[in-house]
Amino acid sequence: MARLYQVPHHAFMWLLLAVLMATLPHLMRAPGWMMVVVPVLLCWRFLVQRGRLRMPGKIIRATLMVVAVLATLYSYGTLLGPEAGVALLVVAFALKTLEMFRLRDAYVVIILACFVLATTFLFNRDPLTTVYVGVVLVLVMAALVGINHAQSGASSWGHLRLGGALVLQALPLMMVLFVLVPRFPPLWNMQLNPERARTGMSDSMAPGEISNLSRSAEPAFRVEFEGEVPPPALRYWRGLTYSWFDGRRWSQAAPQHTARLEYVRFPDEATPPWYASLLSARGEPEWRYRVIMERTGRQWLYALSVPFTDKSGVGVARDKRLVSRFEIDSTFDYRVESYRFPVAVEGLEEWERQLNVSLPSSGNLRTRRLAEQWHQEAGSDRAFIDRLLRWFNEEPFFYTLEPPLLAEDTVDDFIFRSRRGFCEHYSSAFAFMLRAAGIPARIVAGYQGGELNRLGNHLMVRQYDAHVWVEAWLPAQGWVEFDPTAAVAPSRVEFGLDQALSDFGEQAGGFGANLRRNPLFSRLSHMTDYMDFVWSKWVLGYNQDSQFEILSRLLGQVNPQRIAVALVLAGGGVVLLVLGWVLWRSRTPGLSWWQKEHGRMLRLLNNRGVPLTQGTSPQGMVDAVAVSYPSAARLLQDWQRCYEHMAYRRPGQDPELLRRQLVLLRRKAAVAMRGAPRLMDKEA
């Protein structure tokens, strides 16, 4: 067997640490057996380095690999796809460390470490992960330096410093490449586990689902306003509407209506009549803003009513919300203008009216009767709605995250018995009663509120801001939004969930919510949120569109030639900058004024042809001038005396005076030498 390559001790420690840290983020997601196997393999390698154990033989290695493949197959059901693939890669990577027989193998491990590190970004792209990957990259570089500098005898800290310097020097170049290298849409679609990838509002709603969402403090999206930020009571972020009620669950639309062609209008499509009427009636936009959305795995986007956008691939739906053509599987940003329409501009189609008044044929009879009775008493739709809202406000209804379970007739049971509920209960009951009275009504789902972050002057909307409210059709005004939850708990809209719940003697979300109330924590979370915001906006949100926008601002016109030139210039500029910095760091201290003056005199004498060598001392200059230009010898003698005072004698004379004299004498000498022919010339 070939002689075993011994990784230098310093390099080995960095390498093992880098391998461990590169696999760590994957291990956290991986099945349990990997959490055990990978560290055990690395320990094995460590003991081999220490001479306690031997490298495994061929048979053991092959067996381990087969077992690893089978175990991965067993855990994920497949070897394909990012999750299973990365899991297999990580195990194989750990096994590879037990196969470092040659220097070449060590290089393979280093390259693999970089690759495994890169796969971290498949699952996590937040700033913290990026910093972590950067740190591990420094370790990998330190190991690489250590392997190559085995003989130099530098300490392992020296290797780490050098590795860090290498990574730091690469950073500016990386930024140039990040900005300038053209971005292509992904060649294939990374299908992450679809169930896990979907977050936020779903396309249907049953009691208890929104309140579940409200326990999460995960960010949903951020909004950056151009100009004024709307007050809390106007921050209703529409995501989708639920028009179909099956007695328990509200969902988007009845099956027979989903295929309506004119429902969503995408920018490159023909304009349906309802869209045309909206376009022609809109005046000045009320709000302009940019939404930076987290990955949801769904198609609907969030915006204030009534939204329009010029983002490609995003259309406006008939129920006044934004819909993306594709599922949002990475950070997504879009610019929105929201308009207000005081009067109905679009009609209510008959199919639409029928959909929005339809109720299950049976159940909840008490509520139906009550609604019909009150509607008759009220005389008009508007009066009926007002009475309902008043009723919610005055009767002892409770706002709670933990409502009791409801019986089969959920609305009856809620209104007449439990009277404890979350926004979905109130909205559901409210919409039900409107429909029972014959008023077209639907549920709007989205988010309400959002926390203003003063640092970035942006709104942060989190999952616990999830909310549903109701929209009713009033013939004169069109679709009008009503929020029954606001009638029960007005503080929900003004101050958010925490305040509303505590008004009703309840605390939201336990520990997390308590922390949120702590001022120090809240400032800290504002800061991290701001960091995250900037990160999503400038790094994750930097896609084909924003690149095109920035490049056309930078280059005027985007074409391959210009990008190539910009790449070369910027890349070269960065290299020059780093080089300049390195030179500047090793520069010698600057010259004093008299040293500069000496240099000027030296140049003068050189120009006049006085024979001087590098090492001619000031006295030597005098002697040389005395030979070449006897008439200037006196001046040079005086100059030399002044210079000696400044440079070599104990300080005593006034430097300013000496300086003026030096300059004066040099000028006089220049004149004298110009006037007088050189002695040598005369001789020649």
Binding site: T588, L591, S592, Q595, H598, G599, L602, T613, Q614, G615, T616, S617, P618, Q619, G620, E644, A647, Y648, R649, R650
Partner: protein, 305 residues
């Protein structure tokens, strides 16, 4: 004080004719507390110069003629048994003096050379486990024949480094030669010279040397000379920090002899050859003198950038 020293130089010049530069260097070497190596062919006046220097400063001096069968005890001294008092007592060797003339030092074996050179560096002698300090001041003026001569043991670099300066006298000029031939024996003249300076005054000028001002610009020049000797590839090995310190001390002494209380680059340039030539070996062949001249010419006196 400087005047007195200058008179000493003049007095020596009246005996050693036509070598004023070398004499000044020798005196500068002494007041810089350095040991002096005079290297030349036999009969060039090396010993006469050494005698004259001893006389003119009224120093207590001994002369040792080095031979190849000499032992360290011949220089340092030896313990002898006194039968009357029934104990050993040290019979001090010639090294216990203020000025030691080590004539033809390269004729002795390395062992004997080593014993002397150790005494030069430490200014003390250890005999039978007992350390004895040498008198103050303590100078060694060694003379040697060029190593091309038969029957010599060349001093190794490490020992050459102990000498602050190495000078050579060279043949006299025609006029000096005539004067030399017409006059009486120079060695006798030297031995009958009257002292010009007392030991106390000599010590005083040695203290004065330390106070001569060396400006940052000058220190910078010396540093660049040192660096160039190491980095330029002109020499097989660069100058040691000891050589740098010696160069600065010698330049100070030279400045004092010139009547200045500050060092100028010219002072450095004058003493550079004598101080460094014996410590440097040109990598491209060529004599040590041409190497130091090259060093002088390639290092700018004033920093340019």
């Amino acid at each position: 004080m400087a005047v007195a020293i200058v008179r000493a130089v003049e007095a020596v010049s009246s005996v050693v004719l036509g070598k004023e530069e070398q004499i000044r260097l020798a005196v500068a070497c002494m007041i810089a507390r350095g040991h002096l190596l005079i290297e030349d062919l036999p009969g060039m006046g090396k010993t006469t110069l050494a005698h004259a220097l001893a006389k003119v400063f009224s120093l207590d001096y001994r002369r040792v003629q080095f031979t190849s069968d000499m032992l360290p005890a011949d220089i340092l001294g030896v313990s002898v048994f006194d039968p009357e008092r029934r104990e050993f007592h040290l019979r001090q060797g010639p090294v216990f003096t203020q000025l030691l003339l080590a004539d033809e030092i390269n004729r002795a074996t390395p062992k004997t050379q080593g014993a002397l050179l150790e005494a030069m560096e430490e200014r003390q002698v250890t005999l039978d486990g007992e350390t004895r300090t040498l008198p103050e001041p303590f100078f060694v003026i060694a003379t040697q024949n060029p190593i091309t001569q038969a029957g010599t043991f060349p001093l190794p670099e490490s020992q050459l480094d102990r000498f602050l300066m190495r000078i050579s006298l060279g043949y006299p000029s025609a006029e000096t030669e005539r004067e030399l031939l017409a006059g009486s024996d120079r060695r006798d003249q030297a031995l009958s010279m009257k002292p010009v300076l007392g030991v106390a005054e000599l010590m005083q000028s040695m203290a004065q040397v330390e106070k001569v001002h060396a400006s940052p610009d000058l220190i910078d020049y010396i540093q660049r000379l040192m660096a160039h000797s190491r980095n330029s590839g002109l020499f097989t090995a660069g100058l040691s920090p000891r050589a740098g310190l010696g160069l600065l001390r010698a330049a100070r002494a030279w400045a004092l002899l010139a009547g200045n209380d500050y060092v100028t680059p010219e002072d450095v340039q004058v003493v550079l050859g004598p101080v460094t030539a014996h410590r440097l070996q040109g990598s491209a062949g060529g004599g040590p003198e041409s190497s130091t001249r090259q060093l002088l010419e390639s290092v700018p006196v004033v920093r340019r950038h």
